[in-house]
Symmetry: C2
Subunit: 216 residues, 2 copies
């Protein structure tokens, strides 16, 4: 059931990888709502869930300027991991139970984005990842809101993608012995019907970018 056994030594520079693997990396990142940011604080690892966005080979993060992790992120080595669970793999043996999943592990140094145009691009990327269509529909950030937000870039130069699909791989002896069911139960993320805010004015219908949203 080990999901990932990727030591840093086995991670690969993207420039050395084929187009297919880069496409896999983009696909895993683009399908996520939340990733997990790893930083070292007080000498120990800290893993925090957060939204993100991608533009080309740059991953963008943002946070409240007052947040502890955001205050020390500029120039810090980080790891950003996105995982999708696709299925529970029931094997004949406990040992061969597993998960179908897709995961991307990105390593690098986070850099604060200070250029206003690039901040804007980054926030658009993060917003569109969370809620496609919102950047052109909702009210855009004010100068005060921008000042309260720290934006960081992480270049996608060192990353690892792991994907498991398909049925269980049981020991031949367990298959021969028989008598125990084996297979896969798919796991999916679904979106429910939109629930209007209690203070929403009457007569406003759910916009298409919300009502027609489907999992990536």
């Amino acid at each position: 059931m080990q999901l990932s056994e990727t030591p840093r030594t086995r991670l690969t520079r993207l420039s050395e990888r084929g187009r297919a693997e880069l496409a896999d990396l983009y696909a895993v990142l683009d399908a996520g709502l939340v990733g997990h940011l790893g930083v070292v604080r007080y000498g120990a690892p800290l893993v925090l869930p957060m939204g993100y966005g991608r533009r080309g080979d740059t991953l963008y993060l943002h946070g409240s300027s007052g947040a502890g992790w955001a205050r020390t992120l500029d120039g810090a080595e980080v790891c950003f991991t996105v995982t999708h669970v696709d299925g529970v793999v029931y094997a004949r043996s406990v040992f061969d139970h597993s998960l179908n999943y897709r995961s991307a592990v990105v390593l690098g140094t986070a850099h604060r984005v200070t250029d206003p145009d690039r901040q804007n691009e980054a926030l658009a990327a993060v917003t569109e990842q969370l809620s496609p269509g919102s950047w052109s529909y909702a009210r855009l950030p004010t100068r005060r809101e921008l000042a309260a937000t720290s934006v960081f870039a992480l270049e996608l130069t060192e990353a690892s993608v792991k994907i498991r699909t398909g049925p269980p791989h049981d020991e031949p002896a367990d298959v021969t012995t028989g008598g125990r069911w084996a297979g896969v139960v798919g796991v999916r993320t679904v979106f429910d019907e939109a629930e209007p805010a209690p203070d929403l004015e009457a007569g406003l219908t759910v916009p298409a970018h919300v009502s027609e949203r489907r999992p990536a």
Copy 2:
């Protein structure tokens, strides 16, 4: 949209917390299929997705004995984070967009479990978290399989739980201005119908612990 802003200084010793918060921690952990383990390797953070299990105030992890992270985990400071995404919060403003979520961040030192009885308990916990019912249904590990598996314990003594629920919190001016829809689109994990392994013998029906599985 910041999911978590929990610096170590704001994490709390569990002994100082109320019963309700401990119940929240258990609930968040018990509902997950995958958590994200943070370790420091070569001086940099590394975040890996993996299954886990809980028994009382102990979190159990396991991995292939040959895995890089498993070889250096005994005695290492770690962070283990479990996150559930419950909804996308569409606000009138981009700035107030958010996620409804539940997350638990556990900090501590991982210790290798060497006592066979406790290894057994740990593997049962991990298996039952992934696939409830499998420990009593599937073939149990052989001595050889146990030797190939490293088991680790992380005590739940220092942890943080964050939960966001409910509608968007827009600026009063944005509510007054009106004209933009706001609300929540719930996000849920669902299990699909069980798909038998291609090499499953005829006549074996899906056992109840698989067919009746529902999200935690």
